[in-house]
Symmetry: C2
Subunit: 492 residues, 2 copies
DNA sequence: TCAGGTCAGTGTGACCTGA
DNA sequence: TCAGGTCACACTGACCTGA
């Protein structure tokens, strides 16, 4: 009637093991939340009624080792339990000497071997005979055969906790031997938990990234789901099934009004989308506004709509009456060069071949870009933006890595993205010099600065004085690198 | 600056002891509530940053022993206790409405405004008049002036808790209304901790990276300190002060023997260095061997020694007799083309301009590169290697970022590193086809495969069949990208 | 600068519910 | 009986406030 894990009163067999309510819940939480625990005492604590809270890692270990399983066909056989004790003891893995941590106690490793090089017995002559058995280093003494310095091989046995046999290999008598002066207590040995820790950090990060992807996905669905479905069906019906969609008769005035409303609606959707991105709500007001303001909104508009443009036609449907904002009307309302730019920009974006979620992650990256204005106005807001920006960058890159099966594809995508970011500069100029000066009272819309008309080409070529000096032209294209060396095996 | 009790960052002297916030609060609670803790481990636990929660008894003990004292003065009276409850409730901090979390409960925001775009009162005509006051978006409705959809400001109001007026708009009756069935309890509002969490992860990572840098630095000092100092002084004395160093008379045989010993010693040093890298000790034996074996060791040798070569001369001193392994002897012992390659390789490496610590971090990156042989032999070992490799990559890149003041410098360094990794392929070939076949019995050393001599050029050009297909030629040079967009402000 | 206080966040396990 | 869920509770420590 005792919990096999902690020794308190058991309430029954849970997940295959006689356990108390606490251990049951503990195990469930651990599995559900995929928590990675760390042991700071050497992975051999024995949780009991009082100390179960002290080392979650070992408590969880014990749950696993005793056979807890969440999809619990109650399959544990108690026979194994007894057998496993102390089986693999002496085999292979050496040395549990408690001070063996090389990182923490580096100085322990003796230096004496250095000035006393031990000429090895390797005969260099052999090496030229056989290509496969020869030592790796002919010029230099062979490593594989070199005597391993003491202290080098330590600490192996502790690692593989998955391995039941290895785990069981710490029998109580052995332990007793290494126990320090205080008796009866498990020794307080410090463990190197480099790997565990790093993995925990990565895992933590991964979890947060997954949460972000989830949030973005549901934001897309909730904010743009109807639009996207509508436009997509429009596109499919016409392109795949060849249907000619019914296009209600309309006038230029109605079209302009509808477009205006559509864009007003678009602003709101974009804002809502932005507000649903994890992290936004922690920005202060001005930074939050910046996220969807100005050129960023233009970029968002282009990318969001651009998915439903082909080289020749537009499948965007706007307004309550489902007016098709087709090429014909676009040409009536906008200047030709503008359309050329937009279609080109969107076409090139399509070529990147991002999935939907990646596209909107990219938009998040764009939105959270910390611009010079935020940087000047509020250094604090800027650092927050940078943090979020970095997060979305990570998430996007992670998504790409996950999708791309080979390096070449990933490289290719990254290169295209790099070009895309360059092109964003054009969007920025276009917004600054063209859209902000656009006269929307009569079609086709034209941009006027004072008396002079600004053409799209003018705007695109406008070399701006206060463009960020850290901007595109000399920015670091390689800022993160995994330094991926992949060299052929030296064997095989 | 460290808490004397647990070793975390201290925030000052509390109750007479340099302590962190946690230990301060812990002690206060313990005294106030007169809690008696029990140690289950023998009353001699040493609380540290990770384990302070494990044994409250010893933590409290330690507080007492280090001299924490509540100077009775400000002992609080329990009468106040009752009053304060619910005092702050209505003050300032608004909105305890439990469903107000925008991120977690997105769906609450109504969608109704979307299909009902509200034509704004902005007159587009204005925009062309003034260049600075005009709305950002002329073609599209202005964001700043656009009516904010309901639901969007929700989280704004939540955000700035400073704002009393906004806060006051959520009166307590409202609160009561939304309170769940259990009454009288403050509702359990979940806060979005995106930023905090992300920062915590980053900080955690940063701490580990700093520890790694520290470990590498001390490994350099401990393993190579004497060598580096010796060679450096040799170099300085000759290059800067123009001294001609005394070079003992020696013979080719002695030189070859000394070199052999030096290399044997080098192997051991390299192994020791590797074993001192955080993470190594958690690798299994074969992966651990791979870290300093074969071409990796050759690369290590080249970089480690390369710092003390100039274009014309070598300042490496070897052996117990401090023989100068100068260009003259190198030419006697090695073939000319090999020397050309080595001097070129090392020269180019110097051009990258890495600091010492960066150089050895780079070597760690090289050492922990998971090669195809490990990948094939042990997938598990490979994943560990990849983890460590990634870590050192992060650390190196972080160090570079920290050092480089501007993007251009960082870019440049990254580009050079990229070329360096390409060149590593040559080292790999050289090792595989030249060094492994090297006949070291007579000087100058020559590589023979069967009867045929292999020249350095042969080796360098050797296109290997089983070079990793994921290898250099099509690897992702940009694999990590921060997607750094830096565009000029749209204002200012 | 520090004592004292606050409270969001987290982990825990007793208890509930339905199969 | 047990899986899965809920939630009151305790503890923690970052942060605030006032001396
Ligand atoms: Zn239990
Ligand atoms: Zn433990
Ligand atoms: Zn402390
Ligand atoms: Zn204790």
């Amino acid at each position: 009637m005792k919990c096999e894990i902690c020794g308190r009163a058991a309430t029954g067999v849970h997940y295959g093991v006689l356990a108390c309510e606490g251990c049951k819940a503990f195990y469930r939480r651990g599995v559900e939340k995929k928590i990675t625990y760390l042991c700071y005492f050497g992975n051999n604590c024995t949780p009991d009624a009082n100390t179960r809270a002290c080392c979650k890692a070992c408590r969880f270990q014990r749950c696993l080792r005793l056979g807890m399983k969440i999809h619990g066909a109650k399959l544990k056989d108690p026979v194994l339990d007894g057998k496993k004790k102390g089986k693999r003891k002496l085999q292979g893995k050496n040395a549990e000497s408690p001070e063996s941590c090389p990182t923490m106690e580096i100085s322990r490793i003796t230096c004496s071997t250095q000035t006393d090089p031990n000429p090895l017995s390797t005969n260099p002559g052999i090496s030229s005979a056989d290509d496969f058995i020869d030592p790796d280093d002919a010029l230099f003494p062979d490593l594989a055969l070199a005597e391993v310095p003491s202290g080098y091989e330590l600490d192996l046995a502790d690692m593989d906790v998955e391995d039941d046999e290895a785990a069981a290999s710490v029998p109580s008598d052995r332990l007793a031997m290494v126990r320090s002066k205080r008796e009866g207590q498990p020794p307080r040995r410090k463990m190197v938990t480099f790997m565990n820790h790093y993995m925990a950090v990565l895992e933590d990060n991964r979890r947060q990234m997954a949460a972000t992807v989830q949030a973005v996905a549901s934001a897309i669905e909730e904010v743009f789901g109807d639009q996207i479905r509508c436009w997509k069906s429009c596109m499919e019906r016409e392109l795949i099934f060849g249907e000619m969609l019914y296009q209600p008769q309309t006038t230029l005035e109605i079209m302009m009004e509808t477009l205006y409303c559509h864009n007003a609606d678009s602003v709101k959707r974009t804002q809502r989308f932005a507000s649903m991105m994890p992290g936004t709500c922690e920005l202060d007001v001005s930074a939050k506004k910046n996220v969807t303001a100005g050129w960023k909104w233009l970029a968002f508009w282009l990318i969001h709509h651009g998915g439903f443009l082909t080289a020749e036609e537009s499948y965007i449907v706007i307004g309550a009456d489902n007016l098709r904002y087709c090429r014909y009307w676009q040409q009536m309302i906008s200047e030709w060069p503008l359309l050329v730019f937009i279609y080109k920009f969107c076409g090139e974006f399509k070529e990147i071949g991002l999935t939907q979620i990646e596209t909107y992650l990219l938009l998040a990256v764009v939105m959270f870009e910390p611009g010079v204005d935020v940087r000047k106005q509020s250094p604090e807001g800027n650092s927050k933006l940078e943090l979020i920006h970095r997060h979305y960058t990570d998430v996007l890159f992670d998504a790409l890595k996950r999708r791309c099966t080979d390096n070449a594809q990933l490289t290719d995508t990254c290169r295209k993205l790099e070009r895309f970011f360059s092109a964003l500069k054009l969007v920025h100029r276009l917004h600054r010099h063209y859209f902000r000066a656009l006269d929307m009272t009569k079609a086709p819309f034209r941009a006027m600065k004072g008396q002079r008309q600004v053409t799209v080409l003018d705007a695109l070529r406008w070399k701006d004085d206060n463009e960020d000096p850290n901007g595109f032209d000399n920015r670091a294209p390689l800022a993160y690198k995994p330094f991926a060396i992949r060299i052929g095996s030296s064997e095989s």
